[in-house]
Each structure stands twice: as C-alpha cells, then as structure tokens.
Amino acid sequence: MIVSRRETVIGRVLLVLLMAVTVVPFISLFVTALHPAGTYPSGLSWPESPQWGNFAHAFQAAGMGRLLLSSGLIVLGVVPVSLLFGTMAGFAFGHLRMPGHRIGFVIFLLGLTLPFEGIITPLYYQVRDMGLLNTRWAIILPLIGLFMPFSVVWMRAHFATMPEDLSEAARIDGAGTWQLFRRVHVPLAGPALSSLAILLFLWTWNQFLLAIVLVDDPAKRTMAGALGAFQGQWGTDIPLLCAGSLLILVPTLTIFLIFQRRFVAALLQGSIKG
C-alpha cells in the first residue's frame, strides 16, 4: 500500500488524541475518587494525601457484595434462557423454515428497533399484576422477552449459513429434528453463541430503565440501576460518588479486558446485524 510518511504521522497523532479523549474521563474519575470525602476538587489535580480508604468506604456504602450477587443472579436468570430460546427459534427460522416462517421472522425483526420506553408503562402494570414487582424476576422475565428479537435474528443469521447437506446426512442416519438440533447444529454454533452470550451479559448488567422502574430496592437491581440509586444517595459527596462509580465499573472492565478480542468482535458484529 502506498502511504506517505506524513499521513502516517498525522494518523498516529489523531489516534493518540482520540484515545486521550476516551480515557481522560476515567482518569478524572479515579483522581477525584482519591480526594478527601466531602471536598470539591477541581479538575485533574492529584490530591496531597490520596485517600485510598474512599474505595473501602464506597464499597460498604454501596453494599457492593450484595450488588455483585444481585447482578450475577439476574445475569444467570437472563442469559442462559435467552440463549436457549433464541437458538431454538433461530434454528427454526433459519434452518427448518416451516410454513409461515417469513411472517414469524419479520415480527421479530420489527422488535429490533423497539425502544424500551415504548412498553415500560404497561409492563409495569403487567409485572405488578403478576405479583413480581420488587423482585429480580421483574427484571429477568421482561429482559428475556426484550432480548428475543436480537437473539433470534442473530442465531437465524448463523443457521441460515449452515449447509443443507449436513442435516440431510444426519436425517439419513435416523436423527429426529431435536437430535439434529442438539447433536449436530448446537455444537457447530459455538462462536455465534459465545458472541451472543457476551452481548447479552453486557446489556443485562448495564440495564437501567427496567431496574429503576420495576425494582425499588437497589440491592435487587442490576449494577447500572444500583449506580443510579447510589448517585441519588451520595450525589453531593463527589469523591465518594466517584469511588463508588469506579468500583461498579470494575467487574465489566475486568471481564472486558480479559475477553477483549471476543468482546470487540462481538460488539462490532452485533451492531452490524442489529
């Protein structure tokens, strides 16, 4: 490729600038979290005596242990079931292609663009009538439903590319439809499934609207919902708020840094298909 030296330099400078803009808010959050509680530090200044204890304090004030458990439970409730249902339906629409599959699929496709605010009001009354308000089920069950369009569209895209011959061969060997699904197609869907799992995990963990509307007790919410409550409670104590926010970010950031390749790939594909 012909690229002039000047362009390379400009490219590097631009990239570093963009990275700086991305990272500075995180650094500002970190530095501010080290200032003495209750002060109003200005901008990016390193405190005279860093208050590492702020993190411990915020950990307790936010009840981080319970929050982690709560978010974990919600993720466990949402992700495996969504994966299973999404995969089964994706298999049906992408591979079995039963009569009327087109209409069924289009109904899911239209759900892709639906803003959650569009259904939140009746959802509140529905969840209340089911007696689930203020329980984790109030977040888990609606989220599974709301993730269906994406999960189904995603998995259908995978199954649509699988060759027919594969199924023909299994059929000749006497496999029923369920066995064909379970023994042949699911094992081959690994990469598509793991990317979907990453996306669903992230979207569940960061879900805010459902958490604040359907669950009053921050200890039963998702991480993002708990952060909202934390801000309401400690919003005036800036260093403590910053310490708490950072702590709440740690789990996702850690998982992201460990699985970053998969994450980036999943998110890029996710937005293309979504």
Partner: protein
C-alpha cells in the same frame, strides 16, 4: 400465533425439513416475546386513547392525548430535543469516525492501532449511567472542561455546562458523542479493511490526493457500514434515557427533556398514564420512521 404440533407426523414424511415442527422450536421465544413485548406494546396503544391515573377508572378520550402532544409546546419540545440530539449522537460520531478511520487506515495493522481498538471500546462496555456520572463531573463548574478553558485563556467561557439553559442540551449531546464515536470509528475501520487496496493504489497512481481518495473510494465503499452507524446512533439519540436521567434529569427548566424521560415522569410521577402512552407510541413510530428508510439505503448499496 403458533401451531405447535398440528399434524406434524403426517407432513414430516413429505416435507423432510420438518414442516410444522419448526413452530414447536420457535414457540418458547414466541411466547416470551408475545408476553413481555407484544402484549405491552398493544396495551401502550390502547392506553394512549384513555385518560387514566393508573389507579381509578379510566375514561376514553379518543385522540385527545395525541392532540395534546402536538399542541402542548412542552411535550412537543421533547421530540425536537431528541432530533437535536441526533446531531451529536449521530452526525458527529459518524463524521469524526469517518475522518479518523480514513486517516489511520494506513496504520491499521500497527501496535498502536491494536491498543486503540481496546481503548476506544471502553465507553461501549460501561453502563451509560456511569458515563453520565463521569461527565457530569467533568462538565461541572469546577470540572476539567472549565479548567482547560481557563488554562488556554478562555476563562470567560467557563460555566456549569449542564446547568446552563443555552448549553445543557449540547453538553448532553457531547456525552453521547463520547460514548458512540469509538464504536463508529471501529465499525468504519473494519469496513475499510474490506476495501480492495488495489483501488487506492490505482487512485494514487492517477495522482489522487487523500481528499479525492476519501470522496471517491472510501465513502462509497462504506455505504453499508455508514448505514449501520447511522441506524445505531439514531436509535440511541431518539430513545436516550440513561444519560439524561443521570446528568440533568431533564433540566434546567425542560431544556434537556427527551421523550424517554418524559414518558417515565408522566407515567410514574405525574400519573398521566394515557399521555405517557401516547408519547411512547409516537416515539416507537418515530424510531421506525427514521430507521426503516435507512435499511433500504444500506440494502441497495450492498446488492
């Protein structure tokens, strides 16, 4: 909607693909989707024709809620604000992303670019609420933004950006742009890696400069990726909630009130369920009206 099992044994012999059994596989997804999405969606439409406080009896008011939506300037302003946010959530990230991606195309394989790929993704991984909290602090009267302005001698411009009537909405927009610019850059960069390098070589040999190259090769080849970026960011702008909720709560006055937040307040604070539902229907329709034409645009480009 589904017809699980009906006559599947009879048809299976003739239709080796399993015919109706497919609906059995799709049934769990259809049931949860219908219960927790389609049913509430239809109820939203139904509620929007009523005046209801959420507790007592409801009265049929026909299209009154919709009439109020277009005549009540405060409510209609929320929709205008959402469109104003598109400038920041979509236009800036896509243009900036295009520019940056085109500039760094030559060094896309370098180690710096690999690091950048991780760093630029950070805003996508954190909850929007956290982005809102970080930026409320950066944009506050003693925050970094003002400190930088003072440092370069523009101290006169300093203000509480999110609390000022004139700057609150753009400030919210900047937060959204920060979240989305990395995603757009990387999506576009990934798209560029698929363009045949021979095209660029040919252009260079014909004496085309970077600008010409950008206009004649890069942008047309990225039609699909640009469409995706615009779709994702436009939805994010129109349906924005988390960032506004945390950063401004719709204030000062109603300067940053967006449809999502207004629905939340109407339904759960002011107990105007009918009005909230009408606004929700408008929001859903608005998103579809903006996004569906974009799909056609990208499809045509790729086929």
């Amino acid at each position: 909607m589904s017809h699980p099992g009906t006559g599947r044994r009879g048809t299976r012999a003739r239709r080796p693909r399993g015919a109706w059994i497919g609906w059995l596989f799709a049934a769990p997804a259809i049931i949860v989707y219908a219960t927790f999405v389609l049913r509430p969606l239809l109820l939203t439409v139904q509620y929007s024709f009523y005046d209801w406080n959420g507790i007592g009896a409801s009265t049929w008011v026909g299209l009154d809620n919709y009439r109020r939506l277009v005549t009540d300037s405060e409510l209609f302003a929320t929709i205008l604000h959402a469109f104003e946010l598109i400038l920041f959530f979509s236009l800036i990230p896509v243009l900036l992303g295009l520019f940056v991606a085109a500039t760094i195309r030559g060094i896309a394989q370098s180690r710096l670019a690999t690091v950048a790929r991780t760093v630029l993704f950070l805003p996508q991984v954190i909850p929007l609420v956290a982005a809102g909290i970080m930026w409320s602090w950066l944009l506050s009267s003693t925050g970094l933004a003002n400190e930088l302005l003072s440092a370069v001698g523009l101290g006169g411009l300093t203000r509480a950006w999110l609390g000022d009537f004139g700057t609150a909405l753009p400030a919210v927009g900047v937060i959204g742009a920060w979240v989305l610019v990395g995603l757009c850059t990387l999506l576009l960069l990934a798209g560029m890696s698929k363009i045949d390098p021979a095209l660029y070589e040919a252009a260079r040999l014909d004496g085309a400069g970077p600008v010409r190259e950008f206009r004649s090769i890069t942008v047309p080849s990225l039609r699909q990726e640009i469409g995706v970026c615009v779709t994702v960011t436009v939805i994010a702008a129109l349906a924005s909630f988390d960032i506004v909720y945390v950063a401004t709560q719709g204030g000062p006055g109603n300067r940053t009130m967006v449809p999502g937040l207004e629905i939340y307040y109407l339904a759960f604070s002011e107990r105007e369920v009918g009005m909230a539902s009408a606004l929700a229907v408008a929001l859903v329709v608005l998103v579809l009206a903006c996004v569906l034409p974009l799909q056609r645009f990208t499809r045509d480009g790729s086929r």
